[in-house]
Symmetry: C2
């Protein structure tokens, strides 16, 4: 076992990655409430996963649990934080200060987890110069020169659909290789770039699908 | 084959559900650009899935493609829309008119897909009476009586963390059985209720995980 408890080069299944933040959130609540240990059955019940799935997920990263004892909450939380990379801090910039950009910049809970928005850019002259979440909104034309002078871990794209690929290209050309994309566009990037999509419409469409799957037709119709 | 091309009672795998909106988005673009047919290989290249995965995904809903021809874009898009339930309209209400609520209410692309926010509620006296995306913001105390008089398909929760479970309980007690949850809380609901989570922090944590997985450590460190 090497880096982060995994065998080197072994990719973690997407499903496990998707569930890690759920573990993190729940374990944070348990620790806050002073709970010291938790079994895989209890975790499963609370998170609506099977106990077997939980044991399988967590075993991807080494062996945490003890037969008959379960998991030590504090230790497991620390491991999950470490696995998620939350032992580090991340600098971010935000492009697009419209409604969605405002919501992102004002979202409280990133900073406490080590994610900090250092600069915000927009093309709208009416927005430039305003403050948002403690950052001044800069003209979009300054994005390239800002990136030459500052090291940025994550570029957040919250622009209208039509400009998101261009913004993405500028970010990548300036060495930002991790993108958090809120624009409803399938960005074209090379394999070296990581894009995490946050698509409101996709989420809503999944909900519509599940409504039809579960209820056959909508309620009240 | 019965309802929506699936065998009745056969659940569609989560992974397929997650990819359906991606197909929808891409096929919408193809149709807009006047492209009439597409092969599974082309779809795979554009969406970064394997051709085999695409054939397997779409076969969950019946057989669409033709050997040597590929898929008719218009037909496939109609099928995907139908599968997603986009042949229907959905009424929604929004609870929480803070920054995130504002972004949701102002998001353009829901309405054109048949999702309409009919009412918005908040507890903040400074917000009540203001208009947001064409809806007046009503006092939260009116939520129960509104739901008695109006049929609502989807309840959107964009409140602070501490009040989201209470709001969820009110929605469910009033017969809203589909929740779109933006609050970073694991809502407790019965099996009859569908919750689609839209957690900004979870998405950011997945990105951090992938940064560490791919780059070992952050760029610039």
């Amino acid at each position: 076992m090497t880096l982060r408890g995994r065998k080197k080069g072994e990719a973690v299944p997407q499903g496990v990655v998707a569930r890690l933040p759920v573990y993190f959130r729940y374990l944070t609540d348990l620790e806050r409430d002073g709970i010291e240990r938790v079994s895989s059955a209890q975790l499963g019940e609370a998170l609506d996963f099977t106990a077997a799935q939980i044991r399988s997920d967590l075993s991807c990263f080494g062996s945490f649990g003890q037969q008959g004892y379960g998991y030590n909450v504090k230790e497991l939380l620390q491991q999950v934080q470490y696995i998620l990379g939350l032992d580090q801090t991340y600098t971010m910039i935000l492009v697009g200060a419209g409604n969605l950009g405002k919501a992102i910049a004002s979202y409280d809970s990133f900073r406490s987890k080590g994610f900090e928005i250092k600069a915000i850019f927009d093309i709208d002259p009416l927005l430039i110069g305003n403050y948002l979440g403690g950052c001044v909104i800069r003209p979009y034309e300054e994005l390239g020169s800002y990136l030459q002078e500052n090291s940025v871990d994550i570029g957040i794209i919250a622009t209208p659909k039509d400009s998101s690929q261009e913004v993405c290209d500028v970010l990548i050309a300036s060495g930002v290789n991790s993108i958090w994309n809120f624009s409803p566009v399938q960005l074209v990037v090379t394999d070296q770039v990581i894009v995490e999509h946050m698509h409101l419409t996709d989420s809503l469409l999944r909900l519509a699908f599940r409504i039809n799957e579960q209820f056959g037709t909508r309620s009240g119709v």
